[in-house]
């Protein structure tokens, strides 16, 4: 049922901003959310010349490879192990507050600059049967990148494929470029969502010209909800990516900075689209309202024309349905006895009707029906 899908969106949105850790808890305390899956680690170590890729690593594997290669990429999926947080934090010298943010889902997208690593966290859409969001956290040092997600997904597979080839930028450049590549992959996953929303808006627009109906407005209401949600997630992302392109020169080379600028362009384009969709939704809702008003107006006109024509006529026929006795006196409804009484009344009624029609024509009420038929023609003038 649709309502569930919509409601699911709503509840995710609320959940999203519920702070998981106990209020007034010790800062930096890591509270594993209930039902979190056990983490699996995939480690990819590489340099211009070498590449080692190992699935299902243990923490000891990670510890062993520390500092052996120019880039050590540790990709962790799952949060259900508090000791792993402690170990990773210790091994790579990660600040407790950053580790806390990995677990406390969802976070606003942000970049934090710690002494010898950057911490980057952002949300990205997961495409499945339901429209949900996933959080990805990155720790980027001079020689390591740690990515941490809650659920398994294939969003980084293309990156791993590209790592197979020597002589590509990805292999020759440092951790900053890997971070860029991962971020770019996540940002790209927004575009299908945008397209789906854009298609929805187009479809509603087309259907709306066929006339307003309640399901349209409910779909529009759902779209606005989704746009609100997306917007809240993407706006902080812009600031985060922007700060990556401008600051943190100790980690990010000018060459990578050019690529991050490109990334920033994409985020700005997403925001442009969202704002444009929002306006389109508002315009559609206004259009819907005027359409409902137009319809109501037309309905009222029909009612009024019919009523106004027939109510006086009904009065007249009622008049001559009265049972005053014409035999009592010649004052009592002598018309009933007239030779041409009935035709005279019919004539009078015709006259009244014609008069009313002329009145309506002067008011332009009758022409409205023709105008509606002219629609396709008038419409043709839109530039």
């Amino acid at each position: 049922m649709t309502h569930h899908s919509h409601n699911g969106g709503t509840s995710m949105f609320t959940k999203g901003y519920r702070r998981k850790s106990k209020p007034a808890a010790r800062p930096g305390a890591i509270h594993i959310p209930a039902g979190a899956i056990k983490p699996t680690i995939r480690m990819t170590c590489y340099g211009p010349a070498e590449l080692e890729d190992k699935q299902n690593c243990t923490f000891e594997d990670v510890q062993k490879m520390r500092g052996k290669h120019p880039v050590q990429w540790v990709d962790i999926v799952g949060m259900g192990d508090e000791t792993l947080f402690e170990q990773i934090g210790k091994l790579f010298g990660i600040h407790r507050l950053a580790l806390e943010d990995v677990v406390n889902i969802p976070q606003r997208a942000k970049v934090e600059n710690f002494k010898d690593h950057l911490f980057l966290v952002c949300q990205f859409p997961r495409h499945g049967k339901k429209h949900t969001f996933e959080q990805a956290s990155f720790f980027v040092g001079k020689d390591f990148v740690i990515s941490w997600r809650e659920h398994p997904s294939d969003c980084f597979d293309t990156i791993r494929d590209r790592l197979q080839f020597t002589g590509r930028a990805l292999r020759d450049m440092g951790t900053d470029y890997l971070m860029y590549a991962l971020l770019d992959a996540l940002i790209d996953s927004y575009f299908p969502s945008l397209e789906r929303i854009g298609d929805q808006i187009d479809r509603i627009d087309v259907e709306l010209e066929g006339g307003p109906s309640r399901p349209l407005i409910i779909r529009l209401h759902g779209l606005r909800h989704d746009l609100r949600l997306l917007r809240r997630i993407v706006w902080p992302l812009r600031d985060a990516v922007d700060s990556l392109t401008n600051r943190h020169e100790w980690l990010i080379t000018p060459e990578t900075s050019i690529y991050l600028r490109d990334c920033h362009d994409h985020v700005v384009r997403i925001i442009d689209s969202l704002e444009s969709y929002r306006e389109a939704c508002s315009d559609l809702r206004d259009f819907y309202s005027t359409e409902v008003g137009n319809r109501m107006n037309e309905v009222m006109k029909v009612l009024t024309i019919i009523s106004t024509i027939f109510i006086p006529l009904s009065f007249m026929v009622g008049l001559y349905g009265m049972n005053f006795d014409p035999d009592v006196s010649s004052w009592n409804m002598p018309e009933l006895k007239w030779r041409y009484g009935y035709p005279a009344v019919l004539l009078l009624m015709s006259g009244v009707t014609i008069g009313q029609l002329l009145f309506f024509r002067r008011k332009g009420w009758l022409s409205s029906f023709t105008t509606v038929n002219n629609k396709s023609h008038a419409n043709g003038e839109i530039p």
Copy 2:
């Protein structure tokens, strides 16, 4: 009764911005509000190695411990004693304007930098039967923290619990970190309020799809009021916390600054939620309006269809209810004497009715009823 709770909110809000002190009074004059409770002092002095916690202190106790420990935390609840203000002000060298702001409730959240202490004031929600706000003021010097509230509450109890343990950051670090911990506890108390509002919005959304009703719009109106109030209190808090993270390096160490940045993140997240809720409320109100319009439209259609079908029919039956005497002349209602007069009229009326139904179908008025039933299906397309 609900209205009281709502009105109570309103009056608090108004009261909040009534300036208590006499207009054009001497600046720095301390006017104890009528009905203020007698202050009770709880003093907690500590350093990495020692901890002394004393309830129900007198001012002399505070004076005696001045400068004896790395951190002297004086937690005062209640405002009903003007001399205490004078004494505290003198002992810790606090500016009169800051003391005045402690009493003049409510203040906008702000941070003031005096020569040798920071003054920080903010509002936080109190959770009880009614939805009210409490003001907390802090004076933070190199070796003391004074917190001053109007009513007793348990919001600082977790902090005191954490102080029991040696080897924790709270014990090892200075007054700036204690200030952070207190502030963090207050900010955390906003989240339950937000959740409650978010739940309300979700519930209204679900109920609204079942059809618009007056209680819904009254609840929505109340929610908007609460959001307005919260927003007015939280926005200045953001600036205050932001200024803590950036300035005042004489007091705040870089290490604490990282924690305050986290605090700032929480405030921004609260503001994000509030703005999002505001938009959701606006969307719901618009949705409500279109729903009311839709309903009205449907009601009008039913009225118009029924009227338009029966009014002409009633005219016709009225016509043949006229008492023109067919015996006077053959011009007078000869139909009444026709053999098949009655069936002919019935046939004519059926024809008129069918014609009108066709007209309505062409206008799409009849289909609207089916469309409404299609709702759940159409709804299923929401992405």
Copy 3:
């Protein structure tokens, strides 16, 4: 009559931004407004040890005391003497444009920094039977403060009272602190106006829940007008006071700057209230609109239910009121001659009515009446 009071507001507002001096006149030309009252001068000269207060001074008195005391406060009320402007301007070395601004009422609040004096001009509310504004101009030099108003008022009396006491800040500090004290007194005079508006909004809110009525919307319309007016006057004041706290160090000591920051806080609080009231007014207007829509909906439902039930019934009774002669043929209304014709018709009509009621119940139109009665209960859920 109310309308006058409202209109009075409007015309003041228009007048307020009418430029008094002839277009393209010589800049700095002083055009005394018609009907201006003769100026009266009250001079208060003081230092930490001495105080001289003289009412109804002449210009010569002022000239004689020039430079004799640390602070020479010249408080002028009335504008009807062009030569006084010339004399004062010459004696204190005041720029002609500043003098022009004193006369050209109303000015936007602003601070102008001339070579050896500050010029500060602002509006403040006068509390009387009507809601009007008064302009106060200040010239502040190293050893003099000139305040110039159009009409007598008691807003500075508390300042003079406070000057009586030695050992107070006001006596020990310089002209900058006196300027602060005067400004603070003026700003305090805004709070009663705000309270009155807040009370109005609360009252309208309560009355509106009892149902929409035209007087409510007219009062709301008047409130919006007043808020627009106040806002236009207070916003520039904020910038003016802000500039006082940050710049002009040649005149304003750091100590006074702390007090001016407090002043600035008050202005910001006024603006916060105004914005909040504006939003509350908008919400109330929207609430009013939805209430009117709700009412209309309910009215329409009653009309439709009554019409829809009785119009077909009326048709039926009209049908059997036709005068077709059953004696002519057995085709003509044989029902009239049936034994149970009348009861059968009554039964049929009952059946139609029950069917319609069931239809209305399915549509949920009947339940709306009960829902309205549930109001107080549903309302109880507001957090």
Copy 4:
């Protein structure tokens, strides 16, 4: 006819932003608009001691006086001579793009700083039968001011009058002060337009309280159009004047800068008024809408009350108008033969009517009429 005036406004507004020169034409090309009048030159050369004013100069006159006096003011009216542009441009060393902007009407107000002259262009209202705008361009060098307008007007006459007097600032100061004086004169010409709009708004406000009517909303629609137009013209003017007060010190002395700040104040005041008028217009439109809604509601109530009372009564009288034959059986309308049948029916109908009136009273529909009459009283509470 009004519509022309309105439409005239609209077309000016469109024309205003039509670029006259051929698309992709050589930049700096001067295309004299068709129908431009022949230029007439008036030259006023002066210094503290001397003044020479000559009407209907030729270009040769201008050339001869070049550099002979401290200030050479060349006031040109009319654009119909391309060679004059070339000559003036060459003589005073004016950039071609600036000359192009003189002809391409209308320009956004702006200040351009060329090597040895400032170029300033702005729009100002012309007061005549129609509401149009005129463009004025100024070239200001160390010893010359060129002003160039399209049509003759008297806006600079006061300046020339003031130049007659020695010992005035205008004579003693340089070209920057003359520029200020000319600009001030143009800005002053906005105030009568503002007043007219303010008066209109007041009048609509008053009339609207008497009840909504279509002409009011059409006038309001026209006012919004005018405000949109004015706003579009004045906003860039603010930036232009602001840049004059802050930059271009090579030309503008600090003394003149004080006067320009005054000018800037006036522009800001105009903008304040425009924004305030815009809001007032919005409020009036909303007020109009609610008034229309109120009226509709009242109309509907009257209709519903009348219908609801009489439709059941009509049904009842129709019922006893049926022609079932009471003689056939005692089941057929025995009431007709009852002794007190008629009075019983009348009583029944009275009962129904009273019941309905009570129902309406409980719903508060009847009271609305009294409330409307209470209007003037309720209104009296507006503060």
Copy 5:
């Protein structure tokens, strides 16, 4: 059919922001869009003294002329050849990301500063039967300008014409000036679109005063769509052109910078127009809504007046149509036997009607009709 044209606009708009390259593809990968036409190259090399213009060049021609002339302008139309991108990129040292942006249509307008060339990309309207946009990309180095478009158009023909003449700025100045000239030509192509939209708005305004009709609102809806689209394209252009005027001094001379400032003025003017049109559209939609409300109100009044007059009359005539038998008792409808029964009833009905008309007049419902006729007169007051 209109709807197609509108829908075409919508789909272009969606397409516009669909990212063509495969998600998570290698950055800098060039994916030629399907159906791209084969590129044709036109090369124009020139300096103050020489000019060589060659159509249908090969890449080898371009390579040969590299560095031979002060300015080498390579104008490429069409994208269907991936090797050309590689070759051009290598020859001129262009960054891969920039080349990717040439193909990935549409891009937001932007300026990117690479080591030894600027990359500028923007959209401009193509004028044909349909309203579409074309993307133009420019690479500008010290001695080369590459312009790259998707489809052939004549927008640069005037530039080539102007290049024929020696002694013009275009020939004497460098690549920066050529870039300015090309950009200026593209920006000029916006003005006809603006004019068309302005004309549409004027026409809708005029027609709307004749009364609201559905085609008007559909055209307005289409206009808003177009404005949204244009706005989204022009806003980034402003920032791009602004950055050209301020930065990149290594390429852009101060002289050219003056011209670019002029360009920037034009973009700002376009934006001004768009914003103004948007507001005009909003005003028109609001005006439409109030007009629909007015109409509805008038329709309702007619219905109510007619119903309210005739429904009681119908009741009365129905009353005397009842068949109570006056012969049974003198209580049963004795009026029917009165001598003046019928005239009395007619009189009573006349009285009721007159009473109701007076009631309507007091309510001001009848006067509305006259007011509407007064329209043209009232309208005449618009300033």
